[in-house]
Symmetry: D2
Subunit: 448 residues, 4 copies
């Protein structure tokens, strides 16, 4: 099937949750369940072997299964029916023994999410690597820092990239924490008692969790969805916080700012009518994906207060929303990677922009230089007057400062120039870059 | 392509917004644009003929177009390129003349939404018809009314169905209002000036709107998305308010309530392990679809504050979210239709439930019967005492009322029985059913 | 009580929904109910007079009522109790006769929303007036149009303001439509049958609706919340689409763009440390308010599928969310008014920005000038080559165009200059401004 | 100020984030900053002493400060101005030295959130205690388990309470994890470089973090809001998952189910017109609070992609949304505590409900008893036939089973009765209760 790619979902992530992958993970559950039950003595070993073999060899019509699922209410019902028919006499009586639809669907979802978390972590490591390189390379590339989109005081592009890096590092840690302890086997039977397994339910659950390499929860959680919601929220925060990088890129790439541009590629970001355009296509894609991701996260969160031992509506909505959370979150990281890999950084424009508006960006620096002598309040008032005067006379703050006798009474001409040099007013920028780089190195080795 | 059906999206609605349908609507725009421009004298008639013919005969590789769209940033770029190549020399220079990507994509979306609104209205009419029949049939089927899930005072099932009908009728009106005046042609060129058409932009826009039978807006609206958001919100409200019917069905179908059941169908609502189950599968599907719809609506609404003359992220998110809004809203109506068509209504259980809890549901009625004599406050206190006593002695309110001298002092035995007869305490239920039925008849004739 | 003002809520709107105002509107309902029932003959006229007088003279301890409401479940219960105590013997037995808590609370909400819609419409008219003046004044102020935050082709600031105006005009129409037909009396008694009024329920409802000047619905709507949701969504769209103006202002006010600045005012938008800053405080406030508004809208929409004849949770959430929707939506309009009233428009910076990047913004214009001769495809390729060359050689598109023999072979030097003059490439901008101004004049006279 | 209490916000939590508390926490920052800077040698010790004293003695007009904040853009500006005026000559020049508005506001928010997390954890411990007691007490109280609101197989009320307990235990762990490592000092100066502190920025930050007992982040995080979003999402999940308990209570308290009732209290849950009503007021309040909480969480999450070194709109929206997230999440836990503390559990109704519908709830149990002999598929078919027959003849499954020769051919009468005894079909319910109780005991000692 040659399905059109989705512009905001990461294709490889889509595949991990696709209908056929879902069936495969459900079969993985059914096979592992049979083996666990044989091991504990609940079903015969030959039944388990037959079921395992059938799960491995099954090539069901996935579309037909989904079609039947619409009226059945869950995919488990037609799948178990098809599997039972496929297993043969040695095992057909023991397929899905003791389990309920939600057990197999939730556990399959957990297996898919596990693979999804791994893929996401992989991409985040890429993002951390690219950000770290930008931080190191541009440690001394001075540029305007901006608050409320107004120039405020100078920073370095390295510091900005170090903050991007810090986002990636924290998201890696968050994703990894979910990978390590956020997942859980679902196995409870119809209402979470494992009634049909008598007193061997816990034993089967333990072995089943081992077979599937999933954490064993204290008890089934059909209606208690905080685990799923926590993973979804974690991915929403990955999406939203990584999309901050995309926000920065779109703003820095503005024609009037011109400080960065996404790497050029054939056919990328052109316009149907405007031959000069180089649109920040990947940053835009990331921002769209983040919006979509957060819409799906809200579906999962708002479905939390579920009914009794299995919900009517809230659980089922997860079947669509959770895969979308993963696909779009992954899409954000993927597109941001596309935006920052090979990013063109225009240090000259950054320098140029620092001088814009008469260099008033250095007003705080000048006031700090004056303050030890004049007091901070007077320094602020004096500098505010200077910036206003510079603005009125269309001159630079530097000219205004040198011309002012009160400033000259406090600072030498060299001291004035120093106070107005962006490169001299960067404080702990370097230390912060080092700290961000160190936080990446301090990441524990990958779980894989 | 045998794509698995989605359990919560209405398949026919999915098709209206599918990748190939989107390409067809974009080609409809391009063809109509060429004809409009020829008519106004902007491009040669033979060019328009060539473009029209090419649009009609084009069989592009939709998946490939979408693949190229990912890096291009919009689907319009590869599509215009492919169409230009397909048109031949007579028209290739005039393909997409004066238009921008957003013009063709937004207008195609409008054409898809128009078809989607028609489909949704059609289904809502079905829902209104089924609800009207239930309202008329069960006009005298007395059942408990419930507030905060507690029995309160009696209603009829006909009244409940009349309220469902009133929801459907209002949603039909809302959908129709959007169909009539919520849509709009998008045609503005790169930044909404139609600059490349000189002084003939407005003329072309007018003719183009006629060709596509879309309302002509006062001016282009690339960054002003209130129209799209209003349609999305309208559908979210359709989804949410129609899902109220599904809430009612799941609650009424509870084992302990047992007042309704979805019509039985082979393979519908069974359980993998519990042979007795008859799950309200369609109502559940509607509730899931409503949650998903509202998640997508929130994406569209939160994207409203868009940048300048074309947004970076907010507009693009609509490409996914708007089709989902339609597919899920339509899924809600579709599933609710499945839930209420052929609904089994168990009047006996309703009657049985009215007697539950000693008939205290009639407490208000009794207090109203007493109030003219005792005053309302004393009546409430007396009845509260009676219900407490009945509860303590595990007797019915009827027995307690007949046994109380204060009650007997005010009401004859027949008056007591009358005051405790649910069928005598229905007030304006009938009048309200009539009003709801009349509101359906008063719907203006369909636009189609 | 000197409550701190909220930065993102409009104070006057907060007052319309404040606890004491809510109590007043509830008393307005109770008084009108008594008068309507007397008129229809349900209760004695002297009772109605006593209740009316009590409602007018009541000065309840609003905080105490709200305190009791927490455990009672609704504010109606303590209020009716207090009112009953206040009425005196002539009417106390007839207070709240036949009504339920939800009747008085929902109707009071409708009365508050009516006042809120009027206030909002008033502010939107102000916004339309300011936008219209900006559109007329800056009809010929040429500036860059921007897509995906990249310069695309020229527009005028008047056109941008005309689009702002068109947003305001459409929102006025939307608000007015809700004011005219979105409101409704709520009056159904415990479960929507008006049982305690026997066969006079509809008559009382009709007179009550007249007294309160509210539309009379076909039947009560305790659990069918589409009306409330539609009003909330309408305000969310007001908030989001008007916030688009704030997005534009923050982007245009960027230091590097410098095309507009919010009007200066003492103490407005300064920084604690940076004396040169002039932050777009109102635009920022509008953007924050829009985010908050849409969060509250999502609460209302997601609460739509309510239970039976009165919901447990979904209805109650409206008590907080609906007033917030109004306060924040009004906050958006209020802050945007603050941002655009007296807006400083720097035509010189706009002109300067047009020349930025070598004037490549005029690339489409040049290609359109070439296309009639070279064909559109060749024109685009040629201009793309010119812009690349200009970029490489750090020269303007104008220089590159004049130097290219292929261009010169098609266009005279004057024609080249004309094609590169932003003021010559504005297409229908003027016509669109006229259309927006006309749409404001075409607004029907206010309902008030 | 006698502000009306909010029905869905926890009052004590509201106070932690109230305007005056916010000012106090901001002053705590300013005082600690001065002391840290004196310690590192940035400002004189006497200045730090003067500032500390002023912060301790300050009694500012909080409403006036908030009024000025509206036009200033942040509360920090008027507060710093007022504090500077209050400090006196020894320290006024050093107030807020090197800091930016966002430093003090974000850090104050962190201090408030710390107190809020402690309060929330405290309430969750209460909830765990009540749930644990219910789980232990009702270990053998058999009741119907329900999926999709249909009776499925039996559970015990103890198991249901154990699942509530497991929710509380996991939320305690989640809240505690945020308390331990989710908080962070904010201190970066205007654009996150601490430029005005030269090379002593990191040292001051370290000491300041110690003074405030807040984790020291690797670098400032003005525009990287994942920490705040993670805390907000954690609370949203607390709200949603704890509200699941409220969903269960409202459903179990339905008149027709009658298995639980909220503890009676004077004035609690009565109706204005229906004297018999006992509404689940606290469960309803919890469900409303959860909806409101999740609306505010969505505001915080959707604001993540912030601009540059300080956002325009997204950050400011947190000022309202984060306190609301805490107040509503706390409101959910508070109301659920009100709902389950002293919960009336009606074991007789549970037993009665198990027999409802002819005891078909035991169908799975019967099929499991038959399956070892007949095979699972045949067992399911046979039991489905029996349940259908029982339904048709209005007899119990027990009668139908005893009457069926195929059943009798496999199972003795005693075995049939055993298979149909709910108390015999509880599987691992007891083990799961033990596991939940153990998970509570395994909670690490509180951080406090």
């Amino acid at each position: 099937v040659d399905t059109p790619p989705s512009p905001f979902r990461r294709s490889e992530m889509v595949r991990l949750f696709a209908p056929d992958a879902h069936v495969q993970q459900m079969l993985a559950f059914e096979g592992a369940l049979a083996r666990a039950q044989a091991q504990v003595g609940v079903i015969p070993h030959e039944a388990a072997s037959a079921i395992t073999a059938a799960c491995a060899s099954a090539t069901f019509d996935v579309a037909a299964l989904h079609r039947d699922a619409v009226s059945a209410g869950t995919l488990a019902i037609p799948l178990v029916r098809a599997l039972t028919a496929h297993v043969g006499p040695a095992g057909s009586a023991y397929v899905h023994w003791g389990a309920t639809s939600q057990d197999v669907i939730d556990t399959a979802l957990m297996l898919e999410m596990r693979a999804g978390l791994d893929l996401l972590e992989h991409d985040l490591h890429q993002l951390a690597a690219v950000s770290a390189e930008l931080a190191a390379t541009h440690r001394h590339t001075v540029m305007p820092g901006r608050t409320l989109l107004q120039q405020a005081t100078p920073i370095t592009f390295g510091l900005k990239a170090a903050r991007w890096l810090s986002v990636a590092v924290r998201q890696i840690a968050a994703v990894r924490a979910q990978r390590a302890s956020g997942l859980a086997l679902q196995f409870g039977g119809a209402t979470g008692t494992l009634a049909s397994l008598g007193d061997r339910g816990s034993a089967v659950a333990r072995v089943l969790a081992e077979h599937l390499d999933l954490p064993l929860p204290a008890l089934p959680w059909h209606g208690e969805r905080d685990r799923v919601a926590t993973i979804a929220a974690t991915l929403g925060i990955v999406a939203g916080s990584v999309a901050k990088i995309a926000t920065d890129v779109t703003l820095l790439a503005q024609t009037e700012v011109g400080e960065v541009a996404e790497a050029a590629a054939p056919g990328k970001g052109t316009s149907s009518a405007m031959p000069h355009k180089r649109n920040p296509v990947d940053a835009t894609g990331a921002l769209a994906a983040a919006r979509l991701c957060l819409g799906s996260v809200s579906v999962v969160l708002s479905a939390l207060p579920q009914e009794h031992e299995r919900a009517a509506g809230g659980w089922q909505a997860e079947w669509v929303a959770v895969p979308d959370v993963f696909a779009f979150a992954s899409g954000v990281v993927w597109h941001v990677l596309g935006a920052v890999t090979g990013l063109e950084v225009h240090a000259d424009r950054m320098r140029h922009n620092l001088d814009m508006d008469g260099g008033v960006l250095m007003a705080e620096s000048l006031s700090m230089a004056l303050a030890p002598t004049t007091g901070r309040t007077d320094a602020l008032l004096l500098v505010r007057e200077l910036t206003a005067r510079a603005h009125t006379h269309n001159q630079s703050l530097r000219v205004a400062a040198h011309a002012d006798p009160r400033v000259r009474g406090v600072l030498s001409p060299e001291a004035i120039d120093h106070a107005l040099d962006p490169g001299s007013y960067l404080g702990s920028a370097d230390a912060f870059i080092d700290a961000a780089l160190a936080s990446r190195r301090a990441l524990p080795p990958s779980l894989e």
